[in-house]
Symmetry: C2
């Protein structure tokens, strides 16, 4: 198969890890007979420096003419003084909305070889395998009005806004994911307080009728924040609105102790998607060959699986990563007694080789 | 001193644990020469059964003529089928607003004797001592409009609403708390997305000028959710808006492994307050002499400290509880190998005796 991929390295360690994904894709292409055509474009701080905007039109165009997008990371202290509408993160929010990437998938998986790096006890996190589905283009993130009011600007308002259709499509997506996993769906809301949560809950109940095999459970967001810590194994697929998903998926990313290995996918209805690591741009270690490229490489694997339907290929990458970890190789962020510390480039080579 | 206290036992285990607080207050009164006059009133499900509303006017009146309020817990499956505006939780939301209890204080402390019950590793949670300050009467909880819209009700909206004054008073409260603690304040927001968070951040920066000794840090809510798990010791006082506080304080309540021991205070500007345990009404174990009365008793200690300025008396209670724990006594929820399991009544007796 022939596929076009837009690669947006972004800032900080983004450039180093993006190289890793590209190298691995090349190896996969050779082994499985695919052709991946790569086009690079700027986003975030890099784009602000070059084009005075965190998301230049050229970048949006490059994404639109591709079959999928790989993104490194955005942001850094260099751009922190800028007014909020031209900060690097704006590029991220804008591209999500622009490309209609409404379904953010965040798999949280415990790597047996990394269990000891977790702040949680082994018995709590062993065998955790949760898929968090976060709605990504609605809610408080984009609702209007979002403004100051009153004679002296003494009132401030943000709006949590959803349409029935927006909720329906993310809920359906989650049921479909539950069907190919362990058939359990936890819908997280705050229905004892929010009207939007009550509508959310109704829609989950309606859609549940079409998936009688899926066991559905409703949970308040505060209870979910607790349960992620003391019984994460109890979750299979968790679906929730944008801001709850932001908080819970970051919380969840801590429990397995392997933030440097967590990928994410942001999908459009037709399967087109943007794939990026969960971690940030880590400006403090940028350019020092210390970054962990694993999450970026696993994001490329998610791309193969979710956007190109290349399951064997994705598994080959996942297996290579497991082998490298089991052989004891670690970047500094996940090092441990008895392991063998290597740099970014070496880690990429090891994975490519396998 | 003479003080009037309204006691609202509420539902489930609320009645059993409220007895504990009353017994301990009686003992404290005798030892230190105070007179505590107790008035009981209904709230939550109990109030729905008796008066067809979760917060009867008599209860509000009883609270208003008291010097402080003690609350057990509300809710249970018996009332789950009711429409949301007459559910037990509504009583809680209504009383907070009615009595203007804008500052919710949630101390998160690791008990050395309970470290092993935590899902987190000892080195992460040893010596944790965080005070979470949650704004309790604004934000998404009470903002209007909160409604369905459109011809077919296909749009839903909730409003995150704050006034400058509401933010100022909670921020000031937090600085004052930081001053009598370790002089560090972490303000949690989502200023990269929300206008309300940007105003929040500005106000924290303004107020910081009046407290030059306090070290101030701003953190996004997603980052705070991560840091609570991997470096909780880094926090001293954390202040945040209503819904973020709901999520983060419940998350934090899990890390020390002692949910059954966590009290909370909800204060008005003049020091009047409502004090309640963080845990819920646990209908599954209600009436079986299995409930842990410690959080309720510690809530009474918070009342002595924050509303009545009785520091010695509060410490006496805290010390009694530590002694009972160190002697190895445990209710079933916190039992562990080598400890001595006792029921609610016995636990209360043990504390009263000390
Ligand atoms: C940078 C920020 C706006 C963004 C978000 O909140 O969505 C980030 O936290 C994320 O989760 O991708
Ligand atoms: C019962 C519910 C409305 C309440 C809240 O969200 O404030 C509870 O979770 C709490 O934290 O006291």
């Amino acid at each position: 198969m022939k596929k076009k991929i837009a690669v947006l390295p972004g800032d900080g360690i983004g450039r180093e890890i993006a190289k890793g994904a590209v190298a691995v894709l090349k190896a996969v292409g050779e082994r499985f007979g695919h052709e991946f055509e790569i086009e690079f474009a700027d986003i975030g701080g890099a784009a602000i420096d070059q084009h005075h905007t965190p998301l230049p039109d050229e970048t949006t165009e490059a994404c639109k003419r591709s079959d999928a997008v790989l993104l490194g990371a955005v942001g850094g202290p260099k751009w922190d003084h800028l007014p909020s509408h031209i900060r690097p993160e704006r590029g991220l929010l804008a591209i999500r909305k622009e490309l209609q990437l409404f379904a953010n998938l965040r798999p949280i998986i415990t790597f047996e070889s990394l269990v000891e790096s977790s702040p949680l006890k082994r018995e709590i996190i062993e065998d955790v395998d949760v898929m968090i589905v976060r709605e990504l283009t609605g809610g408080l993130y984009f609702g209007k009005p979002s403004e100051r009011r009153g004679e002296h600007n003494e009132v401030v308002i943000d709006t949590l806004h959803y349409t029935r259709e927006e909720i329906e499509r993310i809920v359906e997506k989650s049921f479909e994911l539950a069907m190919v996993r362990n058939k359990k769906l936890t819908s997280v809301d705050k229905a004892n307080v929010l009207e939007s949560s009550r509508m959310w809950r109704e829609i989950v109940q309606e859609k549940a009728k079409n998936y009688p095999e899926v066991q559905v459970e409703h949970m308040y967001v505060d209870a979910a924040a607790m349960k992620l810590i003391h019984q994460p194994k109890d979750f299979d697929v968790m679906v929730t609105e944008n801001l709850f998903g932001d908080i819970l998926s970051d919380e969840a990313s801590m429990i397995t102790g392997s933030l440097g290995l967590l990928p994410s996918a942001s999908l459009r209805a037709d399967g087109f998607g943007l794939f990026e690591p969960v971690h940030g741009s880590a400006p403090d270690i940028a350019g020092q060959d210390k970054a962990n490229p694993m999450a970026m490489i696993l994001s490329a694997a998610m791309m193969l699986k979710y956007s190109f339907n290349m399951h064997k290929e994705a598994e080959a990458i996942e297996q290579a990563i497991n082998e490298v970890l089991n052989a004891g190789y670690r970047t500094p962020d996940i090092q441990n007694t008895g392991t063998h510390v290597v740099g970014t480039t070496k880690m990429i080579d090891l994975v490519v080789h396998r």
